[in-house]
Symmetry: C2
DNA sequence: CGTAATTAAATTGTGCACAATTTATTTTTT
DNA sequence: AAAAAATAAATTGTGCACAATTTAATTACG
């Protein structure tokens, strides 16, 4: 009895979901690098700022929950954003364990300059608007699924 | 004259393609960590091995082309794979600049153990099979687009 | 033919990511 | 209330990722 001839099909790059996901994410971050550099942000700093622009002051923990990042990543990123003058870091009054992250005036004003950053993808990602919406919806759905898993497993 | 009320809509996390892409990719790599650790690979080492399993011996440059990685990333990864005994690194005979990467017997045998790694996503990503196929196709299409851009810009 | 331009790896330096541990604070349990 | 458990940041250590530079080899050009 010979084994199935395509037993190893699952290990081909083209049959994997993980690889285009991984590579595509990196490409997008790479494409964002230049416009972000112009306004003085790295990609990780940019998504932190986006959360603060949208939701306002919150703790490092809450920020990490929205961005899927832990303190090991966020602590140094937030210290740099503080040094750049875009955020304030201060201990919460009602719970000294928590760190409250809020925007400075410079941080608030940066929002205006960031408006054209997402356009960097135009002409790089060759998808129709509908395809883009579908892709975004599927990614968000997949992300939700992993969230449930995180909550179960810690 | 007041400005449009939703001028900043584009900067909301939920309206971005980049964020779910970035977060989803990280989650998948995180989910793969455990099964990969059992067979002695990191995620980056895993995708290198997948290319070698599928296409056989090739140069570091060719490997980088398939994986969207440059020598700055690949050189140390390949040295570790060599130290682990899964690949051989040797200068090409016809071009001493190129490094030829080939599988050892251990590297070939590892393929069998890697067969169940992709299953780690089952139950974590809550997408139907059709949705997964759509997602993969859109990601591959987007990735192709950025490839054209890379070739233009260097 | 010999020099200039190109190319492939390697190296250097910066910035994440994340697991694991530590420290400080708060909450829960006896 | 005191000890134990839980929680939030910070720290430590490893491994990418990538821009920029360097080194060595090859190709192109005058």
């Amino acid at each position: 009895m010979s084994e199935s001839p395509d037993k190893f099909e699952v290990l081909k790059l083209g049959n994997q979901l993980c690889f285009p996901l991984y590579a595509c994410a990196k490409e997008v971050v790479r494409i964002y690098r230049e416009p972000l550099e112009e306004i003085g942000l790295t990609y990780t700093q940019y998504i932190v700022m986006m959360v603060l622009w949208e939701f306002g002051t919150m703790t490092e923990k809450e920020l990490g929950g929205k961005l899927y990042l832990d303190s090991g990543t966020l602590t140094p990123v937030l210290k740099k954003l503080e040094k750049s003058g875009f955020v304030k870091r201060q201990r919460s009054e009602k719970d000294e364990r928590s760190l409250s992250i809020s925007l400075t005036n410079d941080g608030i004003n940066l929002k205006e300059k960031a408006l054209n950053v997402p356009q960097a993808l135009d002409g790089c990602i060759h998808l129709s608007y509908d395809e883009m919406l579908t892709l975004r919806a599927l990614l968000n759905k997949a992300l939700e699924g992993t969230k449930k898993r995180r909550e179960r497993n810690g």
